[in-house]
Structure formats: C-alpha cells, structure tokens
Amino acid sequence: MTSAQPPAPGRELSNPPTDGISNLRFSNHSDHLLVSSWDKTVRLYDASADSLRGEFMHGGPVLDCCFHDDSSGFSASADNTVRRIVFSHGKEDILGRHDAPVRCIEYSYAAGQVITGSWDKTLKCWDPRGASGQERTLVGTYPQPERVYSLSLVGNRLVVATAGRQVNVYDLRNMSQPEQRRESSLKYQTRCVRCYPNGTGYALSSVEGRVAMEFFDLSEASQAKKYAFKCHRKSEAGRDIVYPVNAIAFHPVYGTFATGGCDGFVNVWDGNNKKRLYQYSKYPTSIAALSFSRDGRLLAVASSYTFEEGEKP
C-alpha cells in the first residue's frame, strides 16, 4: 500500500479486552493476533475472521506477549512470571520467573530461545523446549544497567532499551556482554525500540515525540546516515504539545514503519526518504501498540483507555 490515498478506515475487532492493552502481535504464520492486556488476559484473535479464538487468564496484568508458532505463544506478566501458552489446549504453564514484573518478551527463531526483559534490571533467556521449572529452562541471566523498557530482535541481534536512556545491543550468539552499549540519542525517556526488518539498525522512540533512526554499523559512513525526527506533536501558540511515541512497527515488506503516539494518531513514514506517507484518522485515545501482519496487509492498532482495537488493510 503506498502513499497519497487516504487510508481506508479500520475495522474494529469484537470482544476487546476489558482493560488497557499492553501489546499486540501478529503471528508470523497466519493472521492470528495475540493481545495482552491489563485485565490479566491474553487473547488470541483471528484477525481476518474477526473472532476470538482463545482467552487465557494470568495472575496479574500481562505486559507483553509473543508468538512461538501458530500453536503456542509466550507471555510476560506483572506477577513476575513468564508463561508459555498452548493455544489449542488452552493450557499455560510457567516458564520462569523474574524478581519484578516482566516487561517485554521476544522469541528468537534464530536462537530458539525466549528472551525476556524485566524491571529487575535483568534480561533472561529461556529455552522453551525444557520442561517447566526455572532451573531447566533458564539459559542465562544478563544484568542491565537499568530497568528494561523495550526489546527488539532481528536476526541475531537483540536491542534492549532501558530506563536512563541506555541502549544495549547484543549478539544472540554471545550474550556474555553487549556488543554495543549506547546512550540514546534522544533526550528523554525511551519508550520503544524496534529493529529494521533488514537488520541494519533500529528505531528508538521517546516520550518527547521524537523517533531516532540508528544503525548498528559503527563506521562513519553508516553513522552519518542516522537521524531523528519529531512527530506526534501538536503546535499551540508557539509551544508544542509533545506526545510520547508509544509504538513503532515496521512493515515487513516495504520497510516503511508506523508510529503511534499518545495523541491518538498513527503515522506511517518512509525512513529512507525521510517523509511521512500518511496519517490515519485519530483514534479515540492513545495508541498503545502497533503490529503489522506477516505480509504487511494488515496493521493492528491498539488504542488503550477505551479499550478498542482496530485494524486496517
């Protein structure tokens, strides 16, 4: 889908969660959508059919979720647990625990591991093939300088954004120490980090309506390409109202990306040409999460507060 045409309005999914949505993800294998929410549930939807296929209760608000494959997924919860959910049987079991709420979770296909980041300032890697029980599934624990706010994976690289504006880049094959340790190039708290689908860098967003595009390659040539731009701001009498950018999602095919902010707008940008492609109409409240489907046809937008969820082709 390219620019210039006003995007068609989205379709709202039925049976949304009853409380705020913390994150949502499309599966890599189908159009299933996994939604985690503050109402302690993780819900599985079939996006194209607009049906709720499963709902899984947890002990506390669920802060993040991800797919393993079409039959199972993982969730990270504020009751400090990391759980694996098997959709077909409706079962879930605890993969492990942190000492503090687990904020983000990712599954790495390359390494076959589940990686979780938590507010206890650690990153843990789990092997989901092991039986439940922390001793057998935990592959490693990696301390971080601060609480982990966001994670993203591409290929063999993992980018971790923590409080205090620090960013660590790890190579999954050698997690003993970060490959790179950076400070964010934005001035305020980091909100979300996402890697480019082509694996050359990552996008970082902050609470002050800015997104920074960075590159892994530390050579001068690559670093010269990095930039940051302002978005999700409203101008009022000389001052801006600056909204946090809550979510970034990359289109798997085109490499363009969408950002969602607390102003309720979703903007789609072309990173290479540094232009905004279009903007969707305003959502009722702030955008909590964004996700593209595997073929890029659908964009799921979670608008929290009033707990709606919309999708668009």
Binding site: G20, P101, R147, G164, E179, Q189, Q223, K234, G238, R239
Partner: protein, 388 residues
C-alpha cells in the same frame, strides 16, 4: 523590536516556527555542524507540523557542558563524536569496552548549554513528566530517575489491590510528579550542580514489586551562580549524609564556588545512573502550567508526603525554597493529576463528579484545564476498579 542581528538557532536546526515573523535572522550559517542529515536547513524553515518533510529533530548543535570552568565561550560546534571503536572497516563486532556513541560532550560553553536546556524546557516539554533528561544527545542523563507509565500503573494497581484508597494513590503519584518537576526546575536554574547532596533514596511508597528507586529530590546545593540562599549549605550536608547509601562517585560536597563543574563532569561520565544525580530542579515554565505558582517552588506538600528519612532533607529544601503553594493547590493538583489522564472529551461515567470537582478546583487555582491531555491510563482504570 528586535534588531535581527542574531542568527536564529531554530532555523539552523530546521525547526523555526516563526518563519517570517521570527525575531532572529534566518541565515544558513556554515558552521562546522555535523549535519549528518545533510538536509538543506533552509528548506525546512518553518512548520515542523508539515507532514513532509518532517522537521528534523536535530537534537542540538550546541556545545558541550563544561567539564571545567572554561569560560571561553566559543560558539563553534565541536563535533565531539568520538568513536572508540577506531577500526575503520570493522563493523559493529565485538568491541568490549565499547562506547560508540560517547560523544564526550564537554560543556565548553555553559551558557549555551544552559540555553539549550531552557529552550528544551520551554518548547518541548513532554507530556509525560516522570522522565529522565539529558541536554545533549548520547550523553548520560542529567536528570535521572524516570518511571514509565506501566510502572506507575502497575504500582497503582497493586496499591489498589492492597486496599489503598484512590485518594492516597493519587496523592502519591502527584507527589512523585511534583518532585520530579521541581527537580527539572532546579536543573534549569542550575545545570551545573554536581551530585552533591544527592538523591535521597526516595521512598515513594511503591509496592514492593517494583524496584524503582527514584531520586527526584530537590537538591539545591552547590551553586555559586544560583540565587539560592545560604541555607543551602546546611542542606548539602544533610544531603551528604543521606547520600551515603549511594554509589555517589564524586558526590562532592561542592558547596563552594569552584567545584561544581568538575563534579558534574565526573557524573557525566559515570555510567551509573545514580551518580549522575544532578539534582536539577528546573522548570519554571512548565510548572506554571501545572501549579500556577512562582518560579521557585517547593511545594509545601512535598514535606507532607514523603514520610521517611528524607523528610529531613525535604525540610531543608523547604527552608531554602520557601513554601509558596497553599495546600489547596495540592489537592487541586491531584485532580489535575487525575485529569491529566483523561482524553479531551472523554468521560467515564463514574468520574463525572470528579471532573466537576476538578474543574472547580482548577478555576479556583486559575489553572487552565484545556492544555492537559490524556495520560497515565492507570489512574482511570483505577477509578473503575475502585468503583466496583
């Protein structure tokens, strides 16, 4: 009318909103800027509100913060981009002690850094106040101790589960917010304070689950160039005693005229978030929006809220800063806090009365409600929860 002799900084950054009306000169100065963006800054003179091209958030081309009292005010941009990974060809492979983005920003020109800070605070204050801040990209935080919305929400939910009343939760959050704002304000006024008398371990009654240690105290110690009254010294000593718990690094007592830049620079380099505890409490501009109070704030309720060892520190702070805010503002603020989370136009049925209360209080405090926009989902949900 302004003489237009100075070049417009915003314009050079590509983000001047005034365009023709701007008081400063719109010239394209070929400063040795690191225009990594390479975009004609002239093209982007106005409106960063335009969809294309977006205003490049060129973070700041200004100088570095002074490590030492340089006093030479060169306004040349120094591209202090150092690549410790010197290897030209080798891409980002295993480089153990790697600080690729260590710009080693040295504040050679404190004035312009101060200007940056003032500008940032004036034009670009984010909606989410509980954030960390650095005046220079890629450098460690100047103001530390940020809290994300999820943490706040989780804390609020936990508190609610434990039976804390909504009011006390709100109160706690409000205090958090206020102390953070005060910190910003102090920072604005005195950006070169070292971590002296630094952060008291804030014991915000957060639930045990979160291991957040916030340090938004207002430490106005050191400060030759500030206008803080001499009672500061007593505070810094207090602060020092409170500081022992931390890895303060060079938490110098620099109560004296010379010290602060050095301590500051040390803090700037230490990676430990807490040793970079500059307690800034900057922000006259924004606080007026929220508190409608004078520039030197020390909200009286700060004293009330944090009932722990650092209450001592707090009192000292209050001593020096003076209590301007009447307690009514305090409660008004809590409602502001509440209100802050509401999207414009959105109302929850059960909170309608609260909204009315809010509006009343707002008017009484002369605060504009209009500007405050949605935020902090936790509290609204909380309202819902607690109403059941």
């Amino acid at each position: 009318m302004h003489n237009k002799k100075e070049a417009c900084r915003n314009f050079q950054r590509g983000s001047c909103q005034y365009g023709e009306r701007c008081k400063f000169l719109h010239v394209i100065q070929q400063q040795p800027k690191s225009n990594a963006f390479g975009f004609g800054t002239q093209a982007i003179s106005h409106q960063q509100q335009k969809p294309n091209p977006f205003g490049f958030g060129v973070q700041n081309n200004a100088q570095s913060k002074g490590a030492n009292d340089f006093g030479n005010k060169q306004s040349q941009f120094k591209n202090t981009w150092t690549r410790s990974s010197a290897s030209s060809g080798a891409p980002s492979l295993r480089q153990p002690d790697n600080q690729p983005q260590a710009t080693n920003h040295r504040c050679n020109d404190p004035e312009s850094c101060k200007r940056i800070i003032a500008e940032d605070f004036e034009h670009e204050r984010p909606l989410w106040k509980l954030t960390c801040y650095s005046h220079w990209k890629n450098s460690p935080c100047d103001i530390v101790g940020d809290v994300s919305y999820e943490e706040l929400r989780a804390a609020a939910y936990d508190d609610a589960k434990r039976g804390l009343s909504l009011q006390s939760i709100i109160e706690r959050e409000r205090n958090l917010l206020n102390s953070k704002l005060v910190e910003f304000e102090n920072f604005l006024r005195n950006p070169y304070r070292g971590p002296a008398g630094s952060a008291a371990a804030q014991q915000i009654p957060f639930p045990g689950a979160t291991t957040i240690v916030l340090s938004p105290t207002t430490q106005n110690t050191v400060a030759p160039q500030s206008n803080v009254p001499p009672s500061v010294s007593s505070f810094s000593q207090l602060g020092a005693s409170l500081n022992t718990g931390f890895s303060p690094g060079p938490s110098v007592q620099s109560n004296n005229a010379s010290g602060q830049p050095t301590s500051f620079s040390n803090s700037a380099q230490s990676s430990n978030v807490f040793s970079a505890n500059n307690v800034p409490s900057a922000n006259a501009s924004v606080s007026t929006q929220n508190f409608s109070s004078s520039s030197i704030q020390s909200p009286a309720f700060l004293n009330v809220s944090l009932s722990n060892s650092e209450a001592v520190g707090r009192e000292a702070t209050n001593v020096q800063l003076g209590n301007n805010l009447p307690t009514t503002v305090a409660s008004g603020d809590s409602n502001i806090w509440l209100k802050e989370k509401w999207t414009p136009g959105e109302t929850f049925p059960l909170s309608r009365f609260l909204k009315k209360l809010l509006q009343m209080l707002m008017f009484s405090c002369g605060i504009h409600v209009r500007r405050i926009t949605c935020y902090l989902n936790g509290l609204i949900i909380l309202l819902k929860i607690l109403s059941f």
